[in-house]
């Protein structure tokens, strides 16, 4: 939990909003190779992976046969017939891939243990990266990944992040992580960069303020119910497409919405706490956090469509905590 009076968490949060912060956040990584690697990933994911050239990356969700989200990932096109899938749940992804790989010339392996990722985020992140890397990041586009070096260490730089600020991800071999971390710490000094070590700041507080949800927030919903219409490519075939088309035609039964809480703190609200409209259940909470820039207790909730209206007054949980339904982005 994060609280308004936590000055350490606030300093870490605001460093990313106002200057630059860095942290180690190694996602699970699955390497996918083979002549059908691109086709296979296009079949697993809703977004058009085939449109991402080498060196480009795409955000996408992965659906089950019912058209419901079971994962959300960044797919990185690292080379010819060579992709990385950045997920939080590599073992589950591999099980799912096993179930759908028949007929594809493709292989995949969990490379999480070989790789470490550091994230550098904030309005001054480009300046810090330029001081850190051999090459400049000035021409690096969002969702682009390139090879570079920190000293003698080969790394990959991905312009992306989960904070809503401009930012970069540095991927290096695990054996080089100590060197990269030391370089970040040293270079960071001249930018007054802050090392973030509070998970909830870089996973929840920063991201939720900007409307970024985790897979677990969207699990069991369709992309349309999460406002991810833009990421669905209906021109191609993918797992769950038929069900998703039916769901689209029927319209969303529930929506992932924001909640703004009015109580001082949220100790009595956990994930899955029930949301009530006039005392009648109308949804459930997915996550709650204190946002240091928004200066509010905020959250995501799955709300029945009839009540998923910005400004709808609701109460949450067994102590009737008052809240209103909001957009997912709080800044």
């Amino acid at each position: 939990m994060l609280f308004r009076e936590d000055s350490i968490a606030r300093a870490q949060h605001q460093a990313v909003r106002e200057n630059v912060g860095w942290f180690q956040w190694t996602h699970d990584l699955v390497e996918v190779t083979g002549t059908d690697a691109g086709k296979f990933l296009d079949y697993l994911f809703v977004n058009s992976i085939y449109k991402a050239g080498v060196g480009r990356t795409k955000y996408t969700t992965m659906l089950d046969e019912k058209g419901k989200i079971i994962d959300d990932t960044i797919v990185m096109h690292m080379g010819e017939d060579h992709y990385w899938v950045s997920t939080l749940y590599a073992p589950q992804f591999i099980k799912w891939a096993d179930a759908h790989s028949n007929g594809f010339e493709v292989s995949y392996r969990n490379i999480t243990d070989d790789t470490v990722m550091f994230s550098v985020q904030g309005p001054n992140s480009a300046k810090m990266m330029n001081a850190l890397l051999k090459s400049s990041v000035d021409d690096l586009k969002r969702f682009q990944v390139v090879d570079d070096q920190i000293g003698d260490v080969s790394i990959k730089v991905h312009r992306s992040g989960f904070t809503g600020e401009n930012g970069y991800e540095i991927y290096c071999a695990k054996s080089d992580a100590v060197v990269v971390e030391a370089a970040l710490r040293e270079v960071g000094k001249s930018f007054s960069a802050v090392e973030l070590d509070i998970l909830e700041v870089y996973v929840r507080s920063l991201s939720m303020e900007k409307g970024f949800a985790l897979r677990q927030d969207m699990f069991g919903l369709t992309p349309y119910e999460c406002g991810l219409d833009w990421s669905v490519d209906l021109e191609k075939d993918f797992v769950g497409k038929d069900a998703l088309l039916r769901a689209k035609e029927e319209g969303p039964k529930q929506l992932l919405m924001g909640l703004e809480f009015f109580a001082e703190s949220y100790e009595d609200i956990t994930q899955r706490e029930i949301v009530y409209s006039k005392g009648i259940p109308c949804g459930f909470v997915r996550a709650v956090i204190y946002g240091y820039t928004a200066d509010k207790n905020i959250g995501f909730a799955v709300i029945d469509s009839a009540h998923a209206v910005v400004g709808e007054k609701v109460t949450v949980g067994s102590n009737d905590s008052p809240a209103i339904v909001t957009d997912k982005c709080f800044l």
Binding site: M1, F3, Q24, W25, T26, H27, D28, L88, Y89, A90, P91, Q92, T112, D197, I198, L199, E200, L214, R215, Q216, D217, F219, A263, S265, E267, D268, T270, Q271, R272, E273, I274, F284, R286, G317, S318, N319
Partner: protein, 400 residues
Amino acid sequence: MPLNDRAEQRKCIETVWGKLIPEKEAYRYATREIAAFCANLFQVMRILEPDYNKRTEAICEVSYMMNMSASCEQYLKDFFDEWNIPEFCEKSAWLGAIFGDSGDEYENMAGRVIQFTRNRVEKELDTCPWDIVGSELCNMTTAMFTANFDLTSPDGENTVALNMCEARGCGDRHCRVVAERRDVFNLPKQGWMDHMQQPVMPVHNTPPERSFTGGQIIRNGRYSNAFGEEKTFEWSYRWCMELGWVWCVIFPLVAIRDMAATEEEFQRIFKIVFSTAGKNAFVEPFAVEGMRSWLGVPHEIGQNDPRLMGGYIKAVLDTQLVPNELIAFTKEEIQIKVKTDDFNGRFEMAPTEELSLGYETFWHNAVKTMVSPEWSCWFEGKDNDEMTIVVARKIDKRMI
């Protein structure tokens, strides 16, 4: 006008008189029943070992070792897979916290993870069904948590100072367990009696108006952890009825048995404690009235009727999810058949005959005040695959 074909269905436990006990109420009751059994067992321990420190250290040692041996590498791996704990979570730091949080919620220990970082974890509880047992148990749980942390320590050494700095069993409003990394906070390795210290960093005290009265599975019908993985109420209830006995009865029992000079001495004291508890369970007349109301006992069932006790025993078994069958249910005799392994082995891997001994003694004495001293309760065929719980008249010139 359209009418529904049938009423909406919900799961309940039906008493022999047709009263429906909602599933959540049954779960709450059963959880407290396990705690009550544990409280009786701890009275046995206090008689056998008068020294507070000695007995507390003994049960801490055993529960630590049992938890270490129970949680093998594959078990932990399965746990991580089951919970989808991502790679960025440093497993050595957080396993204990995640493990503990889910266990708390399955056992209706309602609360929240206040802090969850590499160097510090703080967990606060508003309720605990076991808060009647006594502070030795509160100490013992920290020994179990220590095992959870030690199991995933990178070098196998104890790296975390773990304190139950508040405990409802000690009269505090909250239970509060804080784990602080020893190297970061410059803390010494702890002995078993050092686990109820105050933490280095200040705690967050949730105000009463934001407290819970029931766990997630009561409030929301399921447990959901910080990574969004969920367990249903049904799954959690079953888990609690199996493993709820293991940590608070079966683990400490290993140490408590060793406190007695002989097996006879252990059984003698065990029976005395459980008899006293049984006699006192219904000594107040309103206790019987309350029970009649809870079970929906009709007025035709009079005061000196063994069916009162039979219906009560069956409800206890049903709420504890123990399969059983009524064989006789008359004014003269009650017989309830149950598989011996089901009764003693709530968690299949750890059967314990003290469950039979404890309940037989408890019910034999409870019937004296609930119904009348003319009635007794005993278990027939305890050494067989199936045993029968009998409530009938018995005369014993040396009855206790």
